[in-house]
């Protein structure tokens, strides 16, 4: 059975989604357990593939038994096995942590929420494992459409936010599709490995250059790189908390992964980094993204919007790190895909819990949060420290590689932007912690602060959150192993 993991990891959530849609009419109580079991199975399969890749190297799966490029092939290698495992873990933990919130937010439609959730995951897993450029587009659309629906079912202005998300997302996906079409036009193939073999003959071709730029622009739009980030803050802040903590860790990170995949394994490395003068502008774009998003984050008055902007800055980290073009920066970018997924999940889970218990997540509502919800706030503190980049949390280590790579490449602006963003993050998070810790003030100085009702979330919500928070530290401590055993093998030898 384990030989079929590449197909099963995508097909099982897909089929489970159909079954959940049927069960919703027949036996509603069975939907949640089925979803959880399926996601746990996916995680198991992902971990199994990661193990296999580490032990015996990359392997392929030919769907329908047609050899590529005739048919569609899945290619499991170090890069996607790692990302896949991270995403599968995030999806499972998020469902475990937020099903209570989902029940409250979605009421009768909660079972359809599970079905869409599974579809979203199936699409995301598929994007990560696929080795076919067009198949990626189809899976991307599954993820996107289920994502639009999930976002659109949020509070207040969610529908409008979701529609804008559709517009930007569709332009992004269409650009990607157009880029793939350009490549097909000049190569006649859609298989990524085959493309990588053919493209070196076509360096001077303007079509290839245009394809690269169009596809990258599309991906930048999908990953919300400044200044194409417009859809993200509203989409994330208007959606309901279970959706937010699913989409925030998965969407942008998956798109960064796609960028890495396309720039390293579809286009030859010397094309992406040598032939085209794309790397330097991309780094500058990333620097602008980091600085601008950090500044915009400062002016937000609610936690989730602030985090949304922090997220945009993090996208800049990954894009910039990747386009530094050296091994260290790229290691940092790939590591940050995993780490950022984990810390975004951690932060948004905490925010979701706060919002559920305090019914509001403006900064004012956080007064006394440390006394009212100590565990949730502890989780938020860990997430915050990780985003600031404090060892031994994982955020420090990816930043380590990113800054190291920038130093090696002599990109001082990127070094400055990373340090700046760390400091801004410190300000952002400690501003929140201050409100939660100090306010409301005691009547007199040195008096005892007023007593507040204990309002912690139930243990079933807290436990997955604590696991995530612990995961941030464990990931950080495992950095050495992840880098030497997995990421080193994931980066082509041509990158020095």
């Amino acid at each position: 059975m384990s030989a079929h993991f590449p197909a099963l990891i995508v097909v099982s959530p897909l089929m489970a989604a159909m079954v959940v849609a049927i069960l919703a009419w027949v036996r509603p109580g069975a939907c949640l357990p089925l979803a959880v079991v399926t996601l746990a199975g996916s995680l198991w399969a992902a971990a199994g593939m990661l193990w296999r890749v580490v032990v015996s190297g990359p392997f392929a799966y030919h769907l329908g038994n047609w050899p590529p490029p005739i048919g569609i092939a899945y290619q499991i290698d170090h890069l996607n096995a790692l990302v896949l495992t991270a995403m599968a873990a995030v999806a499972l933990v998020n469902l475990l942590a937020t099903w209570r919130h989902a029940r409250r937010d979605f009421a009768e439609r909660v079972n359809y929420f599970y079905a869409l959730y599974l579809l979203f995951c199936a699409g995301t897993y598929g994007i990560i494992v696929t080795g076919d450029a067009f198949n990626l587009f189809v899976l991307l659309e599954i993820t996107s459409i289920s994502g639009y629906a999930l976002v659109g079912m949020g509070k207040r202005d969610a529908a409008l936010a979701s529609l804008n998300y559709i517009f930007m997302g569709t332009i992004g996906a269409s650009f990607y599709l157009l880029g793939v079409g350009y490549l097909y036009l000049v190569t006649g193939t859609l298989n990524m490995a085959d493309l990588a073999m053919i493209l070196p003959r076509l360096y001077g071709n303007k079509v290839v250059t245009a394809a690269f730029i169009i596809a990258m622009t599309g991906l930048f739009m999908k990953m919300a790189l400044f200044p194409l980030h417009g859809w993200l803050p509203n989409a994330y802040s208007e959606s309901s908390s279970p959706v937010r903590s699913l989409i925030a860790p998965l969407t942008t990170k998956t798109m960064v992964y796609v960028m890495v995949r396309v720039a390293l394994y579809v286009f030859p490395v010397d094309f992406s980094f040598g032939h085209l003068a794309f790397a330097q502008p991309a780094v500058w774009l990333a620097v602008t993204s980091i600085v601008a998003a950090s500044l915009m984050a400062l002016s937000q008055t609610s936690l989730k919007r602030m985090l949304a902007y922090v997220l945009i800055a993090e996208v800049g980290y990954m894009v910039g790190g990747f386009w530094l073009g050296n091994r260290m920066g790229m290691t940092g970018a790939i590591l940050h895909i995993v780490n950022d997924a984990a810390m975004t999940l951690c932060a948004f889970l905490a925010v979701g819990s706060l919002r559920q218990q305090l019914a509001d997540d403006s900064f004012k509502a956080l007064r006394g949060a440390f006394r009212r919800m100590p565990w949730t706030m502890a989780v938020l503190v860990v997430a915050g420290l990780s985003m600031i980049g404090v060892p031994p949390t994982c955020g420090f280590f990816s930043k380590w590689y990113l800054i190291g790579g920038a130093l090696a490449a002599g990109q001082w602006a990127f070094v400055g932007a990373l340090i700046f963003s760390s400091l801004i993050n410190a300000v952002l998070f400690f501003r929140i912690f201050e409100i939660g810790f100090f306010e409301p003030f005691a009547a007199s100085d040195h008096g005892h602060p007023p007593d507040l009702a204990y309002a912690e979330a139930p243990a079933t919500v807290i436990a997955p959150m604590l696991v995530t928070a612990a995961g941030l530290v464990v990931l950080g401590l495992l950095t050495g192993r992840i880098v030497t055993r997995i990421i080193d093998a994931a980066i082509p030898a041509a990158i020095l």
Binding site: P392, I419, A442, G447, P449, R481, T484
Partner: protein, 493 residues
């Protein structure tokens, strides 16, 4: 030199690190305090048990986890680290006693949180002391920054918030803005972060780059409170006194100077600094801080603030000693970590005892207090003598070495700096003691009736004062460690 692989350094850290979960689960105050003592004693025991091996010239190592391909989180116990760890852990025991008296005496809130974060801070301090490389040091340095934040802001009022902000601004700004890039540059240049006796930077970078790096490190370790990165320390005095006593006279600030000493000796190497004459630069910065801080201290009326400025000055003695790069100066610097710790903690304990007993914070309100609290003020007197550097107190030994070191290095200017500042020290400490005991009855603000603070607030300063005196007569444990460390640093094994 032989190297032993042992888990002891990790055990010492875990002794403190395991405490918060235990405290969180125990509800009764007595159990909480018993556990705290248990942890403090265990930690001290583990650290003391490493003494014979280190005296014997051995080095204890333990690698926890290979966290980056070429850098690991690893511990190495050498003479310098052990000296610092020994001071911190022994004083934690005394401070725990004192905390019980102080916190109960003032009926402070959130005592569980207080003791938990206190333990965190100590774990981080010992972690810094035992770090084998710059990354591990940075890790524990940052851990200490965050662990002390809830202690500094313990009162949770507006003043605490303002101080907390200032504290984080300086400490985090320094560590993220300066130390982190500096560390990465070092890694980029050398490919390693391991502390080694001769330094790792020799021949890897030009003079200008090295100067910039050194400045980044010296200011970036803002806990060392080198001017102009000092003003968080007076602000942090809003913390409860046990925090000021152990953390802001011993653990936190000494972590700052310890880090500077480590970087100067282990990353740059004394040879390289001498060659480029960079020692003078740091020594000059330190001298300015010493004199300026002492002058400012003269004008402070708040007792704790005066002590804080005194600390700023004294810390720079250590930086100065390290920067002079001569054997005696290095020995003196390392000794001063210990000697100043015992002296200054006594002074803070006394300040706290006065506050618990009378509620007074300002020096001008303390005329004649010696009659009411004779034991406390006697301890204060001894502590002051030690900090000024007069016999028969431990402070004399370290200053003596510093003076000799300045002569050895043939830097008479710095000799004068030390002497002038000692006079200034005397000028801001002795009047307090004088007014406490020798003011006329009309001037005295207190009745002549002995009414000391609670027992657990009085015994600790007496213990540390006695220790200060004892260290004058028996400086051997620390002196030997400091000499070993100096030999190691200067490369003569």
């Amino acid at each position: 030199m032989n190297t032993l692989i042992t888990v002891k350094p990790l055990l010492a850290i875990l002794a403190a690190l395991c405490l918060p979960p235990i405290l969180a689960s125990s509800r009764s105050p007595n159990a909480r305090e018993a556990w705290t003592f248990g942890a403090a004693l265990t930690m001290f025991g583990v650290i003391a048990s490493m003494l014979p091996a280190v005296w014997g010239g051995a080095r204890l190592e333990y690698t926890l986890v290979q966290v980056l391909p070429t850098v690991s989180i690893a511990f190495r116990v050498d003479a310098l680290g052990l000296l610092f760890a020994l001071v911190s852990s022994s004083l934690w025991i005394v401070t725990s006693l004192y905390s019980v008296g102080y916190m109960r005496g003032l009926k402070e809130h959130a005592q569980t949180r207080f003791f938990s974060f206190f333990a965190f801070s100590l774990a981080a301090t010992v972690g810094v002391a035992f770090s084998a490389n710059l990354l591990t040091l940075y890790l524990f340095y940052e851990m200490l920054s965050f662990a002390t934040y809830p202690l500094v802001t313990h009162h949770q009022d507006r003043e605490a918030r303002a101080s907390g902000r200032k504290y984080l601004l300086y400490i985090l700004g320094g560590s993220i803005g300066l130390v982190l890039p500096a560390m990465l540059i070092v890694y980029h240049l050398t490919g390693t972060l391991e502390f080694s006796a001769g330094g790792i930077l020799a021949g890897k970078a030009g003079a200008a780059q090295l100067t910039a790096l050194l400045v980044m490190f010296v200011f970036g370790f803002a806990k060392a409170a080198v001017m102009p990165f000092h003003s968080w320390l007076p602000a942090a005095m809003v913390a409860p006194t046990p925090v000021s006593a152990l953390l802001h006279a011993v653990a936190v600030v000494k972590v700052g100077v310890f880090s500077v000493v480590r970087v100067v000796t282990g990353i740059f190497g004394t040879g390289l600094l001498t060659e480029l004459n960079l020692g003078t630069l740091v020594a000059t910065i330190a001298s300015v801080t010493i004199v300026a801080a002492s002058l400012i201290a003269l004008s402070q009326d708040g007792l704790k603030r005066r002590l804080a400025f005194s600390t700023i000055g004294q810390l720079s003695y250590i930086v100065l000693g390290a920067a002079l790069l001569s054997p005696s100066a290095l020995t003196g610097a390392m000794l001063h970590i210990a000697m100043h710790a015992f002296g200054k903690i006594t002074l803070f304990f006394c300040a706290g005892a006065i506050f618990v007993a009378t509620g007074k914070k300002f020096i001008s309100e303390m005329k004649g207090i010696g009659w009411r609290m004779p034991l406390t003020m006697s301890a204060f007197f001894i502590g002051a003598l030690s900090v000024i550097g007069l016999p028969p107190c431990g402070g004399f030994i370290s200053k003596w070495h510093l003076v000799i070191g300045a002569l050895e290095a043939d830097r008479i200017v710095f000799l004068w700096v030390i002497l002038v500042s000692s006079i200034l020290n005397a000028a801001y400490f002795l009047p307090i003691v004088y007014q406490a005991f020798f003011c006329s009855p009309e001037e005295a603000l207190f009745e002549r009736r002995v009414q000391e603070a609670p027992r657990w607030c009085v015994v600790p300063p007496l213990v540390t004062a006695a220790a200060s005196v004892a260290l004058f007569f028996y400086p051997q444990p620390f002196l030997q460690l400091a000499r070993l460390a100096t030999r190691h640093v200067l490369g003569g094994f």
